[in-house]
């Protein structure tokens, strides 16, 4: 089991690196540029960051701030591991509730990251505003404070479509266990399955903070948001985590909607799973290339409509339509 787990984690890390490179390549080709080589944004950038000089983290609690990234990465790796056959039945995490719980760790981590980061990018001026007519000083918010608030909003409202869509295969299989879902007929081959796959894709982009739903870290206003202070090796880990989120959620989709889990003991099944798991990241890259940053003025209606569609699919799935 240890060997299988290590193989899954190794595959997950490798695919994450590949997805990061592929994403940039797709953007570049859409924008009529050559773009970097596929290995550059993932592999070589991470190695470069590993060899950067250590940077001081501007945070009231730098240790905990770093630990949050480790916890978020660990939770995503756990989601990947628990969605594979060797881990079925262990501690009950290979279930809908287990996956939701682990993903919530990653989502909540952004709130704490935002609360604990104090980047110089929004530190303001070191002297008070003396110019005549200047407005009085308000309560200072850092960009990361804004990001923390936005992350909280995304947890409460934005992420509904993803969890509703993730529940549809479980409802169709009438079980909370992943093992049961993989044994049931593939959800994707039904009408409600197709619709809920669309909702899953919307939710996938929301959970992965992928444009157009990257409101917690858009460069156009709050720059990197909660991730701003991660530099050097931390930055490399944050890159890896982003790739892992993109791959893991896509892998979960293949497992739940097509019933093809990442079984490293079967080479053909593994190859098929990995090929299919590239679909969502590729589609997300195309969407990202053609999308602006959406604000909550647009995100709320999209989230609401997707959630309602997801609930309809859930009802149809539970009813065996």
């Amino acid at each position: 089991m240890l060997a299988e787990t290590l193989a899954v984690l190794f595959i997950g890390a490798g695919m994450s690196v590949l997805i990061l490179g592929l994403e940039r390549k797709i953007h570049a080709r859409i924008q009529r540029r050559c773009g970097p080589s596929v290995s550059m944004p993932g592999l070589w950038s991470m190695l470069k960051f590993m060899y950067k000089e250590p940077a001081r983290i501007d945070s009231p609690n730098p240790g905990f701030y770093g630990l949050l990234l480790v916890a978020a990465t660990a939770s995503i790796l756990s989601v990947l591991a628990f969605s594979t056959p060797p881990w079925y039945g262990i501690l009950g995490f290979s279930s809908l509730l287990g996956l939701v719980g682990l993903l919530k760790v990653e989502e909540v981590a952004y709130v704490f990251m935002g609360s604990l980061s104090r980047s110089v990018m929004s530190a303001g001026m070191p002297y008070p505003d003396l110019i005549r007519g200047s407005k009085g000083a308000g309560i200072r918010y850092f960009f990361e404070d804004v990001a923390a608030t936005r992350a909280l909003k995304m947890i409460t409202l934005g992420s509904f479509p993803f969890y509703v869509a993730m529940a549809v295969p479980f409802a169709a299989a009438k079980s909370l266990e992943i093992a049961a879902v993989t044994r049931a007929p593939p959800t994707l081959y039904t009408v409600y399955g197709l619709l809920s796959a669309f909702v899953y894709f919307i939710g996938y982009n929301i959970i992965a903070n992928n444009r157009p739903f990257d409101i917690i870290k858009p460069k156009v206003d709050i720059i990197e948001g909660p991730m701003m202070e991660y530099a050097q090796a931390w930055r490399a880990l944050s890159y890896l985590m982003r790739g892992l989120v993109l791959f893991t959620l896509s892998s979960v989709f293949v497992t739940l909607y097509l019933g093809i889990p990442l079984d490293v003991t079967d080479a053909n099944a593994t190859a098929l799973h990995l090929i299919l798991a590239m679909a969502l990241p590729v589609l997300a890259s195309v969407l990202r290339a053609f999308s602006p940053v959406l604000t909550f003025r647009q995100i709320y209606p999209i989230s609401l409509a997707s959630t309602l569609l997801g609930i309809l699919c859930l009802a149809l799935g539970a009813g065996g339509a």
Binding site: H27, G124, G138, R150, V293
Partner: protein, 384 residues
């Protein structure tokens, strides 16, 4: 325990990746809704007006051109115009046409740069790259016409520099470029205006109503997007013979501020075509007799961002005195502060960018000590 009722303040700048200029914006927000705003600039004063004090006129022209990179021709042209007005000099008609030709080509590349920057602020990278790709042929034509991509140094006292007198070969390259640009630009504008995600971001965002724009004397496309037909070209004799429309929209929002510039591109292309058809033969430069000890003179010109004001006089020794420049950005700054109110924080940055500020060109030296303001003197500026 008393509750702190001060508003929440989010400061942007003096460095920010979306607007690489020395500035600071203080947004006062409730949740994410902007309730008040203060824009501060002057973080990088270059002391250009002080540098111009007491130097020979022709040297002053060389310095004035460096005020801005995106509208360098407009600054030089207006500097030459104000000098010509002060000295009562004449300019050959062909030279006037060449000045307008370069000005309108510069307006095209500046507006395309704005569209690219606006798309970047939206987070739409693909449109950003496409707008920059549209701009590149214009830059190449300007390079062929003048020998430079940024500082063209076309106008001179009494006409234009002879090296910028276009040959038939050079002129022949402009028409095909315009034809391709017009086709690609139409496709680009159609693509952007039918993109539901982009339109949902810019429609109804950053409202600057006509009354507010009028009250704070908005200029340029910012004013014209709020229904005010304010265009200094209406008073410029160089444009008397040219037929084109002044684009005025009434939406008052970010969408219209972007659209005004998009539609003005087609009008600028129209002007360039007329110049190509009607460019008169003759001299491009006539020797001038410099007149000293002039009265104060001032001229207005319509730069890509709006009305550009230059004012100066020449003393008895032929040196520049009391040079004043007012770029279009200062009057628009107050409008930006008003337009962001009521919008979301993310929209606020876009609203500011949609007014196309150029802060480095606008900076003045103001020192505040003990609550009192004073201007820096020349020697202190030089020591900075």
């Amino acid at each position: 325990m008393t509750e702190d009722r001060r508003p929440v303040e989010v400061d942007v700048g003096t460095v920010h990746p979306v607007f690489i200029e020395p500035f600071r914006v203080r947004f006062f927000v409730e949740d994410e809704t902007v309730v008040d705003c203060e824009i501060t600039y002057n973080a990088a004063h270059r002391g250009i007006e002080q540098l111009l004090e007491g130097i020979p006129v022709k040297k002053a022209h060389m310095i004035v051109e460096k005020v801005c990179g995106l509208c360098s021709h407009f600054h030089l042209w207006n500097s030459i115009r104000v000098t010509e007005k002060a000295m009562d000099l004449e300019v050959p008609q062909r030279a006037e046409y060449i000045r307008v030709l370069v000005a309108e080509l510069e307006r095209i590349h500046s507006h395309l740069f704005f569209l690219a920057h606006g798309c970047e602020t939206l987070g739409q990278e693909t449109y950003t790259y496409r707008a920059f790709a549209l701009r590149e042929p214009v830059m190449r034509v300007l390079y062929e016409l003048t020998g430079n991509r940024v500082h063209y140094a076309v106008p001179a006292l009494g006409g234009v520099r002879p090296r910028t007198d276009p040959t038939k070969d050079t002129l022949a390259k402009i028409s095909p470029m315009l034809k391709t640009l017009e086709r690609d630009l139409k496709a680009f504008v159609e693509r952007v205006t039918t993109d539901p995600l982009v339109m949902s971001r810019i429609t109804g965002a950053g409202i600057l109503d006509k009354k507010t724009a009028d009250e704070f004397y908005a200029v340029g496309p910012t004013a014209r997007a709020s229904g005010i037909n304010n265009d200094a070209r209406q008073q410029m004799h160089e444009y008397d013979e040219l037929n084109f429309k002044y684009i005025v929209l009434k939406g008052c929002d970010t969408k219209d501020r972007i659209l005004v510039r998009g539609l003005e591109l087609f009008e600028s292309m129209n002007i360039v075509r007329q110049i190509l058809d009607e460019l008169p033969a003759g001299e491009v430069h006539i020797p001038v007799k410099m007149r000293f000890d002039t009265q104060m003179a001032s001229t207005y010109i319509e730069a890509p961002r709006g009305e550009l004001f230059h004012s100066m006089k020449v003393d008895s020794q032929g040196r520049v005195r009391n040079y004043r420049i007012r770029t279009p950005t200062p009057p628009n700054l107050a409008c930006m502060e008003k337009a962001v109110v009521g919008g979301e924080l993310t929209d606020a940055m876009l609203t500011i960018i949609s007014c196309d500020p150029c802060l480095s060109c606008s900076s003045r030296a103001v020192v505040v000590e003990d609550g009192k303001e004073r201007l820096m003197d020349f020697m202190k500026v030089r020591r900075c």
